[in-house]
C-alpha cells in the first residue's frame, strides 16, 4: 500500500472508461481480489445520466481497516480511454503524488489531469488485450492495478473465477491471461508492502442489499414496489428472497399504490415495507399519515438523492430530513431512523421493523444514494434478535376496544380472521371503539395515545452511536457519520482527545434527555450534515437543549463529504 496525504492505511483507485469498457466490472473484481487477501474496501460507481453507454468510473478504495467512505484523493487514476472524461473528473481528485495510467493508442490525457502534476505512465491496454483472443482492456487494467495495490495473483484468479465462472472455462481463462499481461507490466513498480495475505471470511454487500437483509431479518413478508433510482435494488433484491421466505412482493402502479398496498398487507397482520426515494416519499406522505391515524405498522425506506423535485437522481444528499420529519399534515407522531454506514443498513432496517411492529406506527428509514449503492467489503454482519412482536388481540372480549388507551399507548390489534375482533381501521379520528368521532375528548385522547406510545418507548442505547469524550462534540447522522469518523481519526491528538461523536440513529422522536446526558460536560457542538439549509441543525435547535456555542457544517450534494474537508473544518473550529 502506498502512503499518501489522505489515509495512510488505504489505497484509492479510479478506473475510467466509456460505457461498455467494463471499468465497473474491473473495479468489482479488484475489490473482490482485495477481499481474498484480507483487505477491506469500498466501490462507488459513477455514471453519466444515460441508461446505456456513455462514460463510467469505478471509484475503489482499499484498506487494511474497514473503509466506509471515499478518501480525499486518488492514488491512481487509470483511463482505458478519456472520451467525455470531463463529465466525471470533477469527482476524481488527483495531485502531484498521484499516478495516472493512460493508453497511448487512445485519446490523450485531458488537460485537467495534466495540470495536477501527477506522474503519467503509459500502458498499451488495448494492444496487450488484443494479443489474447477475446481479451479485453479492462482485464489488463485490473491486473496492472492489482499488482500496484500489492494484491497477489492467486487472489486475482479467484476474483475472476467468482465473477465469470458462470460463463464457462474459456471466459475465465481469457480474462486471467489478459489480467496477467497487465500484472506483469506493474510487477516491478509494485510497492514493497504486500497486502495482508491471511484469508478472512468477509462479506461484499451494498447498502441497498443490506437494507433488504435487515428487512427480512426483521420479519418483513410483504413488500410493495415502484421502481425509483436509487432505491430499486432494495426491491429487486427482496423480490425472489421474499418469495422464498413465504412472503410476496407486489409491483404497484405508483407510489400512492405502493404505500397503500403495504398498509393493507400490514392491516392483514403481515409485516410490510416499501422502498423509494424523495419524489416517491412525497407521494407516500398521505399514506403515512393514514398509518399513523389507523395505527398500522409499516416501514418506508427512503434512499435519499439530491432534491428538490427530480433533482439529481444518481447522487446523494441528506435533504429529505424535513420531509420525513414534518411532511405529514396534522399532528402525526411517527418514527424516523437513519443508518450510519453501509453495514449499519442491516441493523437499522431490522430495528425499524421492530419499532414499527412494536408500536403500530410507520417508520421512515433515511438511507441515501451513497450508502445504498456503495459496495463494501465488511466483516460478516451478525444477526441480532428483538423479542417484541406486534401486540395482537387473539382472544377478543365482548367489550373489546381496538384503540383502547393503555399504559404504554399500544392497543392490542386483532388481525382479520380473528372472531369477534371486527373493527374498521380509519383515517377519520375515532373513539376507542374505532367508530368515527369528532369530539374534542376523543381527538385529544387519541392524539395523546399516539404521541405517548412513541415517547415512552424504550429505545435503549440504539438512539445514537456515541464515541470518544471531551468538551467538544460533533453531532451528525446518516452517511456523513463515516466521513466524520475518519476525519476525527486524522486530527492531531490534542484535538481528537477532546472530541466526542454523537451520530443519531433515531431522528424522530427527539430524545432530549438522552442527548442532555450525552452532552454532559460538552462546551461546544458542531452539527455536520449534507444539505443546503442545515435541516438537522434546525431540528436540534427546536427540540434539544444545546450549549450556547453551536456551529454547523452543512453543504448540499451531489459530491459526498471527504474526510479531509471535515477534518480541516473541525481544526479551524477548534482554533477559534
Amino acid at each position: 500500500m502506498t502512503a499518501q496525504a489522505g489515509s495512510k492505511d488505504s489505497f484509492s483507485v479510479a478506473l475510467f472508461g466509456k460505457g461498455g469498457a467494463g471499468v465497473v466490472t474491473a473495479g468489482e473484481m479488484l475489490l473482490a481480489a482485495a477481499a481474498q487477501c484480507g483487505l477491506y474496501g469500498l466501490i462507488i460507481r459513477a455514471v453519466g445520466p444515460q441508461i446505456r453507454g456513455g462514460e463510467a468510473a469505478a471509484l475503489v478504495r482499499l484498506g487494511k481497516v474497514p473503509v466506509d467512505c471515499l478518501d480525499d484523493r486518488f492514488d491512481l487514476l487509470l483511463g482505458i480511454g478519456w472520451k467525455h472524461a470531463e463529465r466525471l473528473l470533477p469527482e476524481i481528485s488527483i495531485d502531484a503524488d498521484s499516478v495516472v495510467v493512460t493508453d497511448p493508442a487512445q485519446e490523450s490525457v485531458p488537460e485537467s489531469v495534466l495540470v495536477s502534476g501527477a506522474e503519467i505512465r503509459e500502458l498499451n491496454m488495448k494492444e496487450l488485450a488484443e494479443t489474447v483472443s477475446g481479451g479485453r482492456a479492462n482485464m489488463v487494467a485490473l491486473g496492472y492495478v492489482a499488482a500496484l495495490a500489492g494484491i497477489p495473483q492467486d487472489a486475482i484468479f479467484q476474483a475472476i473465477e467468482k465473477k465469470l465462472g458462470h460463463k464457462g472455462r474459456d471466459a475465465v481463462d481469457i480474462s486471467v491471461e489478459a489480467a496477467m499481461l497487465g500484472f506483469s507490466k506493474a510487477e516491478d513498480l509494485a510497492p514493497a508492502e504486500v497486502a495482508d495475505s491471511g484469508a478472512k471470511e468477509r462479506w461484499m454487500i451494498s447498502g441497498n442489499h443490506a437494507t433488504g437483509l435487515g428487512a427480512l431479518r426483521g420479519g418483513i413478508r410483504f413488500a410493495a414496489a415502484y421502481p425509483i433510482t436509487p432505491a430499486t435494488e432494495v426491491l429487486e433484491w427482496l423480490a425472489p428472497r421474499l418469495h422464498d421466505a413465504g412472503g410476496t412482493l407486489s409491483q404497484a402502479e405508483d407510489e400512492l399504490a405502493s404505500i397503500n398496498m403495504a398498509i393493507g398487507a400490514s392491516f392483514g397482520g403481515v409485516p410490510s415495507l416499501t422502498a423509494t426515494s424523495g419524489p416517491g416519499l412525497s407521494l407516500m406522505i398521505e399514506g403515512l399519515g393514514l398509518a399513523v391515524c389507523a395505527e398500522v405498522p409499516v416501514v418506508v425506506v427512503n434512499v435519499m438523492r439530491a432534491g428538490p423535485s427530480t433533482g439529481i437522481p444518481t447522487k446523494p444528499e441528506q435533504s429529505d430530513f424535513n420531509a420525513a420529519i414534518y411532511g405529514m399534515h396534522g399532528d402525526a407522531p411517527h418514527i424516523v431512523v437513519a443508518p450510519n454506514s453501509v453495514s449499519d443498513c442491516v441493523y437499522t432496517t431490522q430495528w425499524a421493523v421492530h419499532l414499527a411492529e412494536a408500536m403500530q406506527v410507520p417508520v421512515i428509514v433515511l438511507s441515501d444514494q451513497f450508502l445504498g449503492q456503495a459496495n463494501v467489503i465488511a466483516d460478516p454482519i451478525p444477526a441480532i434478535s428483538f423479542f417484541t412482536k406486534r401486540k395482537l388481540a387473539e382472544e377478543v372480549a365482548d367489550d373489546f376496544e381496538r384503540y383502547a388507551v393503555t399504559a404504554d399507548g399500544v392497543s392490542p390489534m386483532p388481525i382479520p380472521g380473528t372472531p369477534g375482533g371486527q373493527y374498521t381501521a380509519d383515517g377519520l379520528e375515532h373513539s376507542r371503539k374505532a367508530t368515527p368521532s369528532g369530539t374534542a375528548a376523543d381527538h385529544t385522547a387519541q392524539l395523546d395515545k399516539r404521541a405517548g406510545k412513541i415517547d415512552s418507548f424504550d429505545y435503549g442505547q440504539h438512539w445514537a452511536e456515541i464515541e470518544g469524550s471531551g468538551e467538544l462534540a460533533i453531532v451528525t447522522w446518516g452517511s456523513t457519520t463515516s466521513m466524520v469518523r475518519e476525519a476525527m481519526q486524522r486530527l492531531p491528538d490534542k484535538i481528537s482527545e477532546n472530541l466526542k461523536l454523537i451520530a443519531l440513529r433515531l431522528l424522530l422522536p427527539a430524545r432530549p434527555n438522552e442527548m442532555a446526558a450525552a452532552l454532559d460536560g460538552t462546551k461546544r457542538v458542531m452539527v455536520i450534515e449534507q444539505n443546503h439549509t442545515g435541516q438537522l441543525y434546525r431540528f436540534l435547535r427546536a427540540w434539544y437543549d444545546l450549549p450556547a456555542d453551536v456551529d454547523t457544517l452543512h453543504r448540499p450534494g451531489p459530491s459526498v463529504f471527504r474526510p479531509g474537508e471535515i477534518a480541516t473544518k473541525i481544526e479551524a473550529w477548534c482554533s477559534e
Binding site: 461484499m204 413465504g246 398487507a265 392491516f267 460478516p380 374498521t424 381501521a425
Partner: protein, 277 residues
Amino acid sequence: MNAVAPCKFKASDYKSGTKPVWCPGCGDFHVFLGLIKAVAALGIRPEEIAVISGIGCSSRIPAYLNCYGFHGLHGRALPLATGLKVARPDLTVIAAGGDGDGFSIGGNHLIHACRRNVDLTYIVMDNEVYGMTKGQPSPTTAPDWDSKLAPGGSGIPPFHPLVVALASGANFVARAFSGDTKGTTKIVADAITHPGFSFVQILSPCVTFRPDQRNWKNKVHPAPVATTTDPAQAARRVMTDDGFNIGVLYKGSRESYAQTVEPNARSDRDLDEEFFV
C-alpha cells in the same frame, strides 16, 4: 384462515349497528342490504371478510358492517385491498366506494387492479356526483349537468367505467341497480364467487343532489342478452347500450394473481451465504 364449513348466517349478523350518515332515501342503503344478503347467502363468516374503502358517502360502508374494514384514503381503496388480499389470500376482500373515489382520484388504480386481476370484488356505488362535498360533477356526470363548480355543465363527456374495466382485463363485469335489492344480492354474490378481479357498477341514486335519479327505477331493465365470455363483445354492448342494462355482462376465465404465487418454495435459503466473498 380457519377451515370452518360454511355456517348459517342471517343478513343482520353482518350489521355493526352503527347508524349510517347517508340521507334518507339514499341508494346506498340498498347496496348495503344487497351486500349483507349476498355474504349471508354465501355463508362467509363475518371475521373472514374485509371491506376496504376510500372517501365519500358510499365509502362509509365498512363501519356499518360487522366485518373487518378499512376506511382509508380518498381514491386508494383498491391498492389497500390489493395489499391485503395478496398478503392474506384466505380472506374475502371487497373494495367499495363511489364514482369520484374510484374513477377520478383513484382512476389509475382501477385500470391496474383490472390488469393485475387479484381475487377481489370492487363495488362502485355510482350516483354521478360528489355527494359528500355537496354536489360537484364526477367522471360519470353528464356534460350539461349544472352545478356551482361547473355552471351550465362541465362540457366533458362521461367516463365509461365498464368499458375501461373490460379493456383493462377485469375478469367479471356487471351492472346492478340499488333499487333492485334481489338482483344486487345475486350479482354481488356472483362477483364474490368468481375468481379474479370482479367489478360491479351499482347505479345508486343520490336523492339529495341528483333528485332526478329517483326516476332511474323506471329506466333500468335487465340486459337483453346473456353474459358473454368475449370481452370485445361485452365492450361493444356496454358502449352502445343506454346505460341502464342490468346484469352480469362479462365473465372471463383468467387465472387470478394470487394463485400464481407458491409460498415457501425455498424457505430454507440461507440469506447470509450469498454475501461471503
